[in-house]
């Protein structure tokens, strides 16, 4: 935004805008800070896509997949489970600090594209559950030829 008025070519707001942009860039994490006001959902996940499939990556460290249920429809993905952590109330064990989330969780997300859930594959490695869902063939965009008259 450039202010041009009686000041001529001087741009008093440009400096401030530039400074603000530089400060934002310095603290790369500013994107994440803006989310802190909202309650975060558990477990955290990312949705990505490549040419042929959607990829949902879910962070669930230290879990046994027996405690997780993953279900898909063409439009949504649901993940439900329970995270058990080391018993803190065992005899002679004192919990000095407890930050890791524990307990039941359930989350449903809407998928950004129509998918073919029958061909989905899920893999758990290093505490990350990666679900690959092929896109629905029938929903692929089709080229429509335009005839000129």
């Amino acid at each position: 935004m450039v202010y041009k008025g009686w000041l001529g070519n001087l741009d008093p707001f440009g400096q401030i805008a530039r400074f603000q942009r530089d400060m934002n860039n310095l603290f790369e994490t500013h994107r994440w800070q803006s989310r802190s006001a909202r309650a975060r959902e558990y477990p955290p996940l990312n949705v990505s896509r490549d040419e042929n499939e959607l990829i949902v990556s879910v962070e669930l460290p230290g879990m046994s997949m027996e405690n997780v249920q993953l279900s898909l429809t063409g439009d949504t993905l649901s993940i439900k489970g329970e995270r058990k952590t080391m018993a803190a109330d065992a005899k002679d064990v004192a919990a000095l600090r407890t930050e890791r989330p524990a307990g039941g969780f359930m989350r449903t997300i809407e998928l950004p594209e129509r998918t073919n859930p029958d061909k989905a594959e899920a893999r758990y490695a290093n505490g990350v559950l990666t679900v690959r869902i092929p896109k629905d063939e029938a929903a692929r965009p089709r080229r429509i030829e335009v005839k000129a008259s």
Binding site: E28, E59, M86, A88, V93, R100, V128
Partner: protein, 129 residues
């Protein structure tokens, strides 16, 4: 927060970016009569990406996650911060710092820090009216 000088007793050779942004892993700390147990959530980290180091009384854990996406994938929705994990702790003198053991499985780091033998436990009487 961390000691940027020599990192002694490195578990792995791969360095994380010392100057870059990082994520703080959630940690549980439990104490038993003989040891402290530290559990840290570091999803995506395997033992190649893990660095545990102790310098004087500072314990630093660093985890570099293994990328899981194919090269040409585009992220549509991101809740996961794309940074390495890093956290430092100040340890008490009552621990045997050279007997610390750790392992990482399913992205969960478990560190066992044995207490020194004969560590004194002083009970402090609390008076109330």
């Amino acid at each position: 927060m961390t000691n940027e000088r020599h990192m002694t007793r490195r578990k792995n050779a791969e360095p994380a970016r010392e100057d870059g942004p990082f994520r703080t892993p959630a940690v549980d700390i439990r104490e038993t009569p003989g040891e402290l147990v530290l559990l840290a959530d570091m999803p995506g980290v395997d033992d190649k990406g893990l660095q545990v180091s102790i310098e004087e009384n500072t314990l630093t854990i660093v985890g570099n996650p293994v990328p899981t996406l194919p090269e040409n994938a585009r992220t549509l929705h991101a809740e996961i911060e794309p940074h390495a994990f890093r956290r430092a702790f100040t340890l008490s003198n009552d621990l045997q710092l050279d007997a610390v053991e750790g392992s990482i499985k399913h992205g969960l780091l478990t560190l066992t820090l044995p207490k020194a033998r004969g560590a004194k436990v002083r009970r402090i009487p609390i008076k109330s009216e």
